[in-house]
């Protein structure tokens, strides 16, 4: 059974100054309260949370109030850190050296070469039991954070290996807590980003309508997200139709050609996709408002967002 050890609290704790002034004490208090929520959430999902020494007493209080898994200790694990450049030698050198004692090793590769998640996944796929890193990984905390645990867990899941992490659909809550703590979670961040299931390309929208898994690595609901249609330079007629239906707008077939040209023109002019409000206004311009439909249509699980063109990727 793989174990994922989250080091977020230790990294955040390290960045806090000594609580000498009143402001610093307030900040330390805010951190302690926030930590309680973080620990609760991650334990609920099945992660092991590493606690900074000064927080262990407070955290024990939080945990004692709730039933659930208690944090695992670190006594029987030796942390194998660094190894950030071990990608090429993992199979021939790193793994053979530690395979015999894999039950005692907690693998925590650095992300200086952008390979930490990949190394963690290789470790677990070879039979390693435990990896340490952070939710969000280096995209949020810098390369010292190690692998992004949510990426490693989802990758295992996609390979048909149960990562023993429940409630991955709570990851948006984790992202919200990280934002609350002052960290920036990019909208396109793998697994965590709120826009990773936004689609603009006409071919992709068409493919997703036919069979979502053709252009999605896993169903959005697995990580608590939704598909979104964005309308812009790369949108096609199917996208417009679905977007209009989703927003409760009627878009007759005869208006689609003109509407599509307007969407492409506006997207190029402003160098980005359209917002929902812009799409709404264009619909009104291309088609009189009396034809607005009040009925919303089920769009194959595609939900609203912002804007896109008509060809694909691969």
């Amino acid at each position: 059974m793989p174990q994922f050890v989250d080091r977020t609290l230790c990294l955040l704790y390290r960045a806090l100054p000594q609580a000498c002034t009143r402001e610093e004490r307030q900040r330390a208090d805010a951190f302690a309260l926030w930590s309680g929520e973080w620990i609760d959430l991650l334990h609920h999902m099945g992660f092991v949370v590493e606690l900074p020494p000064d927080l262990q007493f407070a955290a024990a209080g939080v945990i004692a109030r709730r039933a659930g898994k208690r944090p695992a200790g670190h006594g029987s694990w030796a942390r194998l850190s660094g190894c950030c450049d071990a990608l090429y030698s993992f199979e021939t050198d790193l793994w053979p050296r530690f395979a015999a004692i894999k039950e005692s090793i907690e693998f925590c590769p650095g992300d200086q070469a952008g390979c930490a998640t990949a190394l963690a996944v290789l470790w677990l796929r070879k039979g390693g039991l435990r990896v340490a890193g952070c939710i969000g990984g280096s995209a949020l905390h810098g390369p010292e954070a190690g692998p992004a645990l949510e990426e490693a867990a989802l990758s295992l899941l996609a390979q048909g290996i149960d990562p023993e992490i429940a409630h991955l659909d709570k990851l948006p809550k984790a992202a919200a807590l990280l934002r609350e703590a002052g960290l920036d979670v990019p909208a396109h961040k793998s697994v965590l980003g709120i826009d990773i299931f936004a689609v603009e390309s006409g071919i992709h929208v068409d493919g997703i309508v036919k069979k979502p898994e053709l252009y999605e690595p896993y169903p959005p609901g697995v990580v608590g997200l939704e598909r979104q249609i964005v309308v812009g330079k790369h949108s096609g007629r199917v996208s417009l139709r679905l977007k209009a239906a989703q927003m409760g707008l009627s878009l007759p077939r005869e208006a689609e050609e003109h509407m599509l040209a307007q969407v492409h023109k506006l997207a190029e002019e402003q160098q980005c996709s359209l917002t929902d409000a812009q799409f709404h206004d264009l619909c009104h311009m291309c088609h009189p408002p009396e034809s607005l439909s009040s009925a919303r249509t089920d769009c194959c699980g595609l939900s609203g967002a912002t804007a896109f063109v008509e060809v694909d990727h691969a």
Binding site: A113, G114, E200, C272, V309, H313
Partner: protein, 287 residues
């Protein structure tokens, strides 16, 4: 030391990231900047999209001094004819190779796909352009399916195929095995990785380690969903790990991304290019 050749697809696959819409002048500017940085091949766009796209690709071809310009095409003869209008150095054909792409998207058979491949390759090569083939959704194809498609391509004069991890689910060990299958089938390999599980850079590095000579990148790693393999991220990692040389210098790639980012509206960047030096570091609780 083998040299990695960069094929940048910012202007095609990258631009499909929701939020981006490059006007023609910007595409030309970005292309010339990449050309000056040492990018060997620029995937400039999709001619089947229309006249504006074709004109832009033609302008890019004229503006770039050394980079070779390629166009992206579905496996359709009509797409190839659109590409002829742009006189690209390279015509790239996208060929689905997984059962699910063939059955559920194209609603056809593998035999028909390979027949279409043969026809399109012959047509594309008829005007003198180099032809490359992209194996779409390769990560959901078996080794035998990859081998069969590669042999068909090679027997029809194609020297290079693109291993496309369309939904980004490859792990590095799987990439290594797939690249070996293609190399042993006698074709040059180009890696096209997506970042859905945060492994685009690692998978591209592993492809090179297994024998791939070409790597697809985009500026800032932009692309659909979680993006593609970033140019600066890849070149920096390749330089750090050693064992390969890269025609694009890591420092120059970083400077290119930094400068190019200033040409786009800031709201469009929306967190892409975080590695350029801002946004890193932990500043919790209002510090």
């Amino acid at each position: 030391m083998p040299e990695v050749i960069i094929v940048d697809t910012t202007l095609r696959d990258g631009e499909q990231a929701p939020g981006f819409a490059f006007p023609p002048a910007l595409k030309i500017r970005l292309a010339t900047m990449m050309d000056a940085t040492g990018v060997d091949q620029i995937e400039a766009g999709v001619p089947a999209m229309g006249e504006t796209e074709k004109n832009t690709i033609r302008s890019i071809r004229e503006a770039c001094a050394t980079a070779r310009i390629s166009t992206w095409n579905r496996l359709r003869e009509s797409d190839v004819r659109h590409s002829f209008d742009c006189s690209p150095h390279i015509i790239h054909l996208c060929c689905p190779v997984s059962d699910r792409q063939i059955k559920d998207k194209l609603k056809t058979t593998r035999r028909e796909v390979l027949d279409a491949l043969v026809k399109c390759v012959a047509l594309a090569a008829s005007r003198g352009a180099e032809v490359t083939v992209g194996f779409e959704d390769a990560s959901h194809a078996s080794p035998d399916q990859l081998r069969e498609a590669a042999k068909t391509a090679r027997q029809n004069g194609v020297a290079r195929v693109r291993l496309s991890d369309t939904v980004g689910c490859y792990t590095p060990d799987q990439v290594w095995r797939a690249v070996r299958v293609l190399c042993e089938a006698g074709v040059d390999v180009e890696m096209h990785a997506h970042n859905d599980f945060g492994m685009a850079v690692a998978n591209s590095l592993m492809a090179v380690n297994a024998g791939a000579r070409y790597v697809n990148t985009t500026l800032w790693g932009i692309g659909e969903r979680a993006g593609n393999c970033g140019l600066a991220a890849f070149t920096a990692a390749a330089a750090r790990l050693g064992n390969t040389a890269c025609a694009v210098d890591a420092q120059k790639a970083m400077e290119l991304e930094r400068l190019a980012a200033t040409l786009l509206p800031q709201k469009t960047m929306n967190g892409w290019g975080k590695h350029l030096g801002y946004g890193y570091g932990t500043r919790p609780f209002g510090l």
